[in-house]
């Protein structure tokens, strides 16, 4: 069934949106009109510049409200999301004991130039994040966190050495799409080395979605708001199902 929606301000289907951007124009009536016309050219109606601020160096910040006539039929929207249910740590350990009956080895790293351990640590470190223990704490996981700036080659070598079931990759820096390059490089190397189908490849980071991960050739991707429990449950269920086949 069709379900057509538009942005909501305070009246259904008023189409109100908030915009904020800078333009390389002076902070004057001329600049303001340029900003308004730009918004109209984006397809918006009723553009109203509510604030303009001089940013110096010939730039101006505009805050604006406008309404859109565009709408979306939510019944037509398809997204790829990780569909496995989320279990608590104890449940996951129990699930693995029952369905898989062995320890799972996970090798994780923040790869290539990226120096930020915050993502991989939040998921893997014993301590975890926001009241959820990390993968190292799970009884059924042998979780190895290699840290940041790990070369793809080193990550794959470690995974091969440990006969890993899962490779977990974090990418935090996304400037100039460096994360796409890094993730692609890893998966290409894994394919070249014949490792791609031997383990689960999972990536995560603030700019990563499950859909993007699938597109890049990974098994799953986790974005902002992901906890260790999401990743652990996915690993437990996916590997158990694989083994059952």
């Amino acid at each position: 069934m069709k379900h057509i929606v538009k942005p909501y301000g305070d009246t259904l289907n008023d189409g109100k949106v908030q915009l904020s951007f800078a333009l390389p124009v002076l902070t004057d009536a001329h600049g303001k009109e340029a900003a308004r016309v730009l918004i109209l050219s984006m397809g918006f109606d009723e553009a109203e510049i509510t604030c303009m601020r001089d940013l110096g160096e010939g730039f101006t910040h505009f805050i604006a409200y406008a309404s859109t006539s565009a709408s979306v039929d939510t019944s037509k929207i398809k997204v790829k999301v990780v569909e496995t249910p989320v279990m608590e740590m104890e449940e996951t350990d129990l699930y693995i004991a029952e369905h898989l009956g062995r320890e799972i080895t996970i090798v994780g790293a923040c790869i290539e130039s990226d120096a930020h351990t915050v993502g991989i640590d939040a998921i893997m470190n014993m301590k975890g994040y926001n009241h959820r223990f990390g993968l190292e704490r799970y009884q059924s996981f042998n979780a190895v966190n290699m840290g940041a700036q790990v070369a793809s080659e080193d990550l794959l070598a470690k995974a091969r050495e440990l006969n890993a079931d899962v490779i977990l990759v974090s990418q935090v820096v996304t400037q100039k799409n460096i994360h796409i390059q890094n993730l692609t490089r890893l998966i290409e190397l894994a394919e070249a080395e014949g490792l791609r189908d031997k383990m689960l490849f999972i990536c995560g980071g603030p700019r990563i979605s499950h859909e993007l991960a699938i597109e890049l050739g990974y098994d799953a991707g986790f974005g902002t708001g992901t906890y260790s429990t999401d990743v652990a449950s996915y690993i437990a269920i996916t590997l158990s199902k694989k083994q059952a086949k």
């Binding site: 904020s20 951007f21 800078a22 940013l55 110096g56 160096e57 130039s113 100039k176």
Partner: protein, 518 residues
């Protein structure tokens, strides 16, 4: 007046333990050197430039000496020897080596006295350049007045030094006092300093001497226009700590991120290498009048900010004690801390206030550096902006030296022009609104804030005493710092550390030690 009632006995015990820990490393500071220290010496002798494939000349020369097994005497002697034989400059010596025409160790060593005289004249000249930069900075502050407190510190990080300059000038006009050019991710692990102006970086812009020069020149122009001296900062950290410190001294950077232990704990750089490098790097900073800034915020982004608050205090005291050994004065120690407590925690602000006051009061003369919320910054830019306002409130109320402004888009991207502008507007509003509020407030003696500050200090003292008893390297190997195990002979860069020969000579270290009274 807002003031803590700190247990002075704990303060002296904690300082005594920190002093004991740092003085255990005299064998390292006086008996060893590293490849980057030797490259620093060459840079200070005036050697600059890179080969066509991008290898910096200081690296080329130090590699040649290391391969020949001759580095134990220090690089200075060999280059001075070649200068003496050929009656040419250090740069000309380097150029000959680059062309493959000169093996430094093939020339017979001249009389030591001759070489010492040559090096002494050269170091006098080069250190004179650094002194001139220091005098120019002091002249600017004299002319335009001192930096405000808290000073507004913002980052630029486009990857392109020219784009950075546009953003830095815009930020200065809006009220920024200090501009930090964030480095390209992974530069800390390069065992060389890239050369020339750079236009592409990831998550930041490469620290190069030319980039320093471009930014400093641009900021001098805007300083003169605004009648306010805009300070510049970068990172003397990673595997090239002293080289970058020297570049910063020559190009008049005003502050340098420089932590005695950060590289070991958070970048897995070898402990000996890091401590050795920071010793010389900080000496250069001290000599150049550069304010150092330490990275204690990292303890809180990787662990719970309440539970591990004491690690910040302990690290500050260690950084202070290592800095004193290099001749850094307290008024040039930007010891770090951060506003990183979970905003869902009840009374999170009260805890933050206690921690910020503790730092402020333990280091009354230091321009302490306060770092913004990052761990709990999210894609909800409105909430992050609000957290930044609370952070700014604590900063002004407790009189922090430097306020590193949070950006509402902290969790999303390196700051856009608008994000930085809104951050400055936020800080200026709060700073103005609560400017003298602290003068009217007072803590009750048995208040939570007093108790909390003393209990963090107590934990820090006990931790430092434990480390002093077992030795810092053992404590690091056992994972006592930041819950990360760092063995003495592990990590990156150990192969660049070597024992000095008895006739080792570093003319700059000698001269600076003398002038700093070390």
């Amino acid at each position: 007046m807002l003031k803590l009632d700190l247990d002075s006995n704990l303060v002296s015990r904690a300082r005594a333990a920190a002093t004991k820990i740092s003085s255990d490393f005299d064998w390292l500071f006086n008996g060893y050197s590293s490849v980057t220290i030797e490259r620093t010496v060459l840079r200070l002798m005036g050697i600059d430039g890179a080969t066509e494939d991008g290898k910096p000349l200081p690296n080329l020369l130090v590699d040649q000496l290391q391969t020949a097994g001759a580095l134990h005497k220090g690089a200075a002697i060999w280059v001075a020897n070649a200068m003496h034989h050929r009656s040419c400059s250090a740069q000309e010596v380097a150029d000959s080596v680059t062309r493959g025409e000169l093996q430094l160790t093939a020339l017979p060593l001249a009389e030591p006295g001759v070489l010492y005289d040559l090096l002494s004249a050269l170091s006098e000249k080069m250190l004179g350049q650094i002194k001139a930069q220091k005098a120019q900075r002091e002249g600017y502050f004299e002319k335009y007045g001192p930096r405000r407190k808290p000073a507004i510190y913002v980052i630029v990080a486009t990857g392109n030094i020219y784009e950075d300059l546009t953003q830095a000038r815009a930020a200065a006009r809006e009220g920024a006092d200090i501009i930090a050019v964030i480095r390209s991710t992974a530069q800390s692990l390069l065992d060389y300093v890239p050369y020339g102006a750079t236009l592409v970086g990831f998550g930041g812009t490469y620290a190069t001497q030319e980039n320093f020069r471009i930014m400093r020149t641009g900021l001098d122009e805007v300083s003169e226009e605004l009648g306010r001296y805009i300070s510049l900062t970068n990172y003397a950290s990673g595997l090239c700590m002293p080289e970058i410190a020297a570049m910063g001294a020559l190009e008049r950077l005003d502050l340098m991120l420089n932590d005695a232990m950060y590289g070991i704990l958070f970048r897995d750089i070898n402990p000996k290498r890091t401590l050795l490098d920071q010793y010389f790097a900080r000496m250069i900073n001290a000599f150049a009048g550069i304010e150092i800034q330490t990275g204690e915020d990292n303890y809180l982004t990787t662990s719970d900010a309440i539970e591990k608050a004491y690690t910040v205090t302990a690290s500050q005291l260690l950084n202070e004690s290592f800095a004193l050994k290099s001749g850094v004065k307290p008024e040039k120690m930007g010891l770090g801390h951060a506003y990183e407590i979970d905003p869902e925690k009840e009374n999170s602000f009260t805890y933050e206030l206690a921690h910020a006051m503790l730092t402020r009061q333990l280091f009354p003369d230091a321009p302490v550096k306060y770092m913004p919320p990052t761990k709990f910054a999210s894609g909800n830019i409105y909430k992050t902006h609000l957290m930044d306002a609370m952070f700014n409130f604590v900063g002004q109320l407790t009189g922090q030296g430097v306020q590193l402004l949070g950006m509402m888009t902290e969790a999303i991207h390196t700051p856009h022009l608008v994000d930085r502008s809104l951050a400055i507007e936020n800080a200026e509003y709060i700073f103005r609104a609560v400017k003298d509020l602290g003068d009217s407030l007072q803590l009750s003696p048995d208040s939570f804030i007093n108790r909390r500050a003393n209990s963090v200090l107590q934990e820090a003292t006990e931790f430092l005493e434990k480390v002093a008893a077992e030795g810092m390297f053992s404590a690091m190997a056992a994972g006592d710092f930041a819950e990360i195990k760092r063995p003495e002979n592990g990590g990156k860069g150990l192969d660049g550390v070597f024992e000095r020969d008895p006739d080792y000579f570093n003319p700059f270290m000698e001269q600076m030690k003398k002038e700093l009274g070390l």
